[in-house]
């Protein structure tokens, strides 16, 4: 189960904004529905902008495995 991170919802919010944008362009949309969508769009926009503005780059460094170098010289002609 993947943890829902800020980036998850950011992507979802952008997708929803795109969706709302298309819906609002259609000719056959009802007035109340359009108003509700517009409202939702404004909220999402504010969210996304603030998410981007406050985000700080997160850096994780993995532990490097120690090399194991052996210097044993084995016998000649090992098959």
């Amino acid at each position: 189960m993947t943890k829902k991170t800020a980036k998850d919802t950011f992507e979802n919010k952008l997708d929803r904004l795109e969706e709302i944008s298309h819906l609002l362009e259609s000719d056959e949309i009802g007035l109340e529905y359009a108003m509700a969508l517009y409202q939702e769009g404004i909220e999402l926009s504010k969210d996304c902008i603030s998410t981007l503005k406050v985000a700080e780059l997160k850096i994780t460094q993995l532990k490097k495995n120690l090399d194991t170098l052996t210097t044993d010289e084995e016998n000649f002609f090992e098959e």
């Binding site: 404004i42 981007l52 997160k58 850096i59 460094q61 490097k64």
Partner: protein, 394 residues
């Protein structure tokens, strides 16, 4: 020089040969072409060194070959240093290599071409195997040297463009011996992690030897086998390693790789601003549309008709009422006249009957004299008889 008459045992002969050869060839440098290269599981290398006239078998122990920055390939010329050793039980001699390097840059070029061709023929560079790079990554894995400029550059670019992303660094040597193994290990480690959307292999500029690890077969194969898409950002614009061909996407530099991997938050700001502008337009238009529909309806013929009808009808009524009143007046006048005429005639009719009897009407100054007291003698008088009027001059 041995005496010809002495009878030697095989061991003794061989021992002397061994001593002679090993002392004579204690530290030599040889150049030749590699053939039959076999890296053993133990880590030791076995190969032949040859030229057109002779061949010598070689060994390079793990401890020595680990410092070689490239993996030898059959056909390339190398320069080696080392010593001759003799193995009595088998009765042969071999070259125990201490150090190895390509005979010249040209040799590395050949090795490059040979390996590239071999892997290309296997289909490792085919488009169909290239995975798409996700457009909005949550976690980016980076295989790079953490003490390099490439590392710092990539971080600053990620921070500037899209700080929402998380970078997962798998540190690795990026040149010299052991680098290829490191890189392979780092790629595998990142593949084991969850949620890494794309991997960048980044390394700054350098010579062909510096970048050689990225031409090693094990590195190329591990890039091919990676389940996570890999962007190669190795060297400068003009540098091409075999890793660049097998990667899912090649970037000219590590910085370019990070630019490709990350979206620019400026684009998102622009997208959101466009959305706000356009949607406000759309809403405004929607409102105007609805408003116009209402106005149109109100102004439409259908809507106006009852009012028009009403107006027309009331106008008609006015007209009729006017006509009626005019007529009425006319009629009234007519009737009044008629009545007065009739009454006059009625009156005169009465008078006529009296005159017929023999009475006479007396008039003076057009006025009827009905009393003797009113009679003015000497004035002109008219006498109205039944059958006419008579004038009496005084």
């Amino acid at each position: 020089m041995f005496e010809q008459t002495e009878i030697l045992t095989v061991s003794e002969l061989t021992r002397q040969i061994k001593q002679t050869l090993e002392e004579e060839f204690l530290q030599i440098t040889v150049q030749g072409e590699i053939s039959n290269f076999k890296p053993h599981v133990s880590g030791h290398w076995y190969f032949n060194l040859k030229d057109s006239g002779a061949v010598i078998s070689c060994t390079m122990w793990k401890g020595n070959n680990s410092s070689v920055f490239f993996t030898p390939q059959d056909g390339i010329k190398i320069t080696v240093t080392g010593r001759i050793t003799v193995y009595p039980p088998r009765g042969n001699y071999q070259f125990d290599v201490r150090s190895m390097k390509p005979a010249g840059i040209g040799e590395l070029q050949s090795a490059f071409e040979i390996l590239k061709q071999k892997l290309s023929n296997e289909g490792l560079f085919d488009e169909e195997f290239k995975k798409p790079i996700p457009s909005l990554p949550r976690r980016i894995g980076i295989v790079t040297a953490i003490d390099g400029a490439a590392f710092r550059d990539m971080i600053s670019i990620a921070r500037r463009r899209f700080p929402l992303v998380e970078l997962v660094i798998a540190p690795s040597k990026v040149q010299g011996s052991g680098a290829a193994e490191n890189i392979v290990e780092s790629i595998k480690t990142l593949n084991r992690k969850k949620d890494i959307d794309v991997i960048i292999i980044g390394r700054g500029g350098g010579s062909i030897e510096d970048l050689w690890a990225f031409n090693e077969e094990i590195v190329v194969r591990s890039i091919f086998e990676s389940k996570i898409p890999i962007i190669s950002g190795i060297g400068h614009e003009i540098d091409f390693t075999i890793s660049d061909f097998v990667a899912d996407l090649r970037a000219a530099t590590p910085s370019a790789a990070m630019e490709i991997a990350t979206p620019d938050k400026a684009d998102y700001f622009a997208f959101i601003n466009d959305f706000l502008y356009n949607s406000r337009q759309n809403i405004t238009n929607l409102f105007d549309n609805k408003k116009n529909r209402i106005l149109d309806s109100i102004g439409s013929y259908g809507f106006k008709m009852p009012l028009d009808l009403l107006r027309r009808k009331s106008q008609q009524v006015d007209g009729i009422v006017y006509k009626m009143s005019v007529n009425f007046d006319k009629q009234f006048l007519m009737l009044k006249n008629k009545l007065s005429l009739l009454s006059k005639s009625l009156e005169s009719h009465d008078v006529k009957k009296t005159l017929e009897k023999g009475f006479v009407l007396v008039k003076q100054d057009s006025k009827f004299i009905t009393r003797s007291s009113k009679f003015i003698s000497g004035k002109e008088t008219q006498l109205e008889f039944f059958d006419g009027e008579v004038n009496l001059n005084s």
